[in-house]
């Protein structure tokens, strides 16, 4: 991973169309501004992980394996 040091107010560019600006840094975190083309999807990574995890969870056990899969859990 490329690691760069930036201060509040400074920016970096990704390609020709994406600008990421560090707006402020506080004890609670960094505030980041993103300028990107409208069709670029910007997501918090946790949201993408949750989408993927939900899609997996939705598969569930097959109907026929359902009781066995549940019994196999130690809860």
């Amino acid at each position: 991973m490329l690691v760069l040091r930036r201060r509040a107010g400074e920016s970096l560019l990704i390609g020709d169309e994406i600008e990421i600006q560090l707006l402020a840094v506080t004890a609670h975190g960094a505030k980041i501004g993103i300028r990107a083309p409208k069709d670029t999807v910007v997501l918090r990574k946790e949201l993408r992980i949750t989408q993927e995890q939900n899609a997996r969870a939705a598969l569930g056990p097959m109907q026929k394996d359902f009781e066995r899969a549940i019994k196999n859990l130690r809860l």
Binding site: R44, I49, N54, R56, P61, M62, R74
Partner: protein, 157 residues
């Protein structure tokens, strides 16, 4: 009493009090806004979140403390506000039900999502999936198995 087709229990009658509204859906299931919570004593503490729109969509879940007795809630103030809960403290067990969704399917080790629990306001029956941003808990928390038997062809993923 209304009834619905379910993924695991055939056609079931349900009470309106068991229906929970997810006004924002769930990530990857944005259009699923109504679920009935099926509690079956023989499967406790597991519960089932059955979509009312899609009979084939049923999440398995359990109260998050089942996965981790020490679990500390970390619901973001925006999520608490969206559920009309007090935003300056985490809700009590009498105010909100907090469930972890399980991934439990053939060929994979079972896991629970402790990073993004389902939070239900018990007073209003409104719910959402509250994603934590603090990296304290895994979205892929392994669950212990009752036996050493693995699922057929099962490996951890």
């Amino acid at each position: 009493m209304p009834s619905t087709k379910t993924k695991y229990f055939g056609t079931m009658a349900y009470r309106e009090e068991s229906v929970y509204e997810f006004p924002w859906g769930l990530p990857a299931f944005d259009h699923e806004k109504r679920f009935v919570l099926i509690e079956s004593p023989e499967h406790a503490p597991l519960v089932f979140l059955q979509s009312l729109a899609d009979p084939e969509l049923c999440f398995l879940a359990f109260p998050i403390l089942v996965a981790d007795r020490e679990y500390q809630l970390g619901i973001a103030p925006e999520d608490l506000a969206a559920l009309e809960l007090d935003t300056d403290r985490q809700p009590e067990a009498t105010q909100a039900l907090v469930l972890a969704l399980l991934s439990l399917h053939d060929g994979f080790s079972p896991t629970a999502n402790l990073m993004a629990p389902i939070v239900i306001n018990l007073g209003t029956r409104r719910a959402l999936q509250a994603i934590r941003c603090d990296s304290l808990y895994s979205h892929d928390h392994s669950l212990p198995l009752a036996t050493t038997e693995e699922y057929s062809g099962g490996t951890a993923c």
